[in-house]
């Protein structure tokens, strides 16, 4: 079972992309995208995990205590920020699409008009 967390990440990514591909509503699409992106958090944190390792914070424990990888945790933080910015921009475009085209269904947003 030592691969299970990695397979969870693969599964989360695939169901998220499935949701994006079949979405009928822009807000649903943003939520699906968030699911797909959360797979990267699981993958990063799983890669850096170490059995019986503590958090990489050496305030109450001495330096040298068995700890998990801090680099992937910092990368996950970056990842979360990117996820938020993307969600905000897509929701904005969805709001504009609703004003101009009167629909939130990506299937109905077909032709591009300048």
């Amino acid at each position: 079972m030592s691969w299970l967390p990695y397979l969870v990440a693969v599964w989360l990514f695939l169901v998220g992309v499935y949701g994006v591909a079949t979405s009928r509503h822009m807000i649903h699409l943003v939520v699906c995208l968030a699911v797909a992106q959360s797979s990267t958090y699981v993958l990063l944190l799983a890669i850096g995990y170490r059995n019986r390792g503590t958090a990489p914070i050496f305030k109450d424990v001495p330096v040298g205590t068995r700890a998990v990888d801090p680099v992937v945790q910092a990368l996950t933080l970056t990842d979360v920020v990117v996820s938020v910015t993307l969600a905000a921009l897509i929701l904005t475009l969805a709001s504009r699409a609703r004003v101009h085209k009167g629909t939130m269904n990506p299937d109905e947003l077909t032709a591009l008009r300048g």
Binding site: V17, G48, R50, A55, A88, D107
Partner: protein
Amino acid sequence: MTRTARLALFAVGAAGLAALLVTGVAGLPDFGHYRGPYGDVLNQVAVGERHATSVVAAVVYDYRGFDTMGEELILFCSVLGVALLLREHREGRARRDDPVRSDALRFFGLGAVAPTLLIGLVVIAYGYVSPGGGFQGGVIAGSAALLVWGAGSYAAFQHVTPESLVDLAEAVAAAGFVLIGVAGLVATGVAFENFLPLGTPGTLVSAGQIPLLNWAAGLEVAAAMTLLFAEFLEDVMIREGDGS
């Protein structure tokens, strides 16, 4: 493309991608057997080198400080994009207000605003000592503003987050982060290199310039969140005010 055609195409692509990903993760070290070396090296040297007891904060604001600047600017650009797209054609349009009428909700909801803001500030302040930091605390502090809308009213939200002030905070924080990096460049010849006394590890007076970068990130994120909430709320209020 029809939905069935798209689903078929997705099924083919997803099957291929799944096979690739599973083969890929099969080559990773077993879960729980992290091999390093970067994390181990940082866990050994970060407290001694940077006097920050939270190694994650040392990585975010020091070892990867330049990347975090990029991350800050991504957030800045995204908020800019949202504001540019949503602020068009707003002048002179009717705005609805939606005060919360339940006294209990107003009492407990608005009572939670100050504690939420305080928790956000504490999470920012101790970011380089214990878990937390500017990004995490900034989101909590920003959500205190949203709570003013959720338990109070849109007018109250607008009153506590004057647009010009939040815009200014956002810009000052983004510029401050960059300027601290430039100050390191001027003082030591390397961008984001520490140029302040390191202080005592485990206290608030520690970690050199990391506290400054941490607070710049906290202010930036809190202002960015508040601006995003403000833009989306105004969009809803105007549309419903128009009766459309």
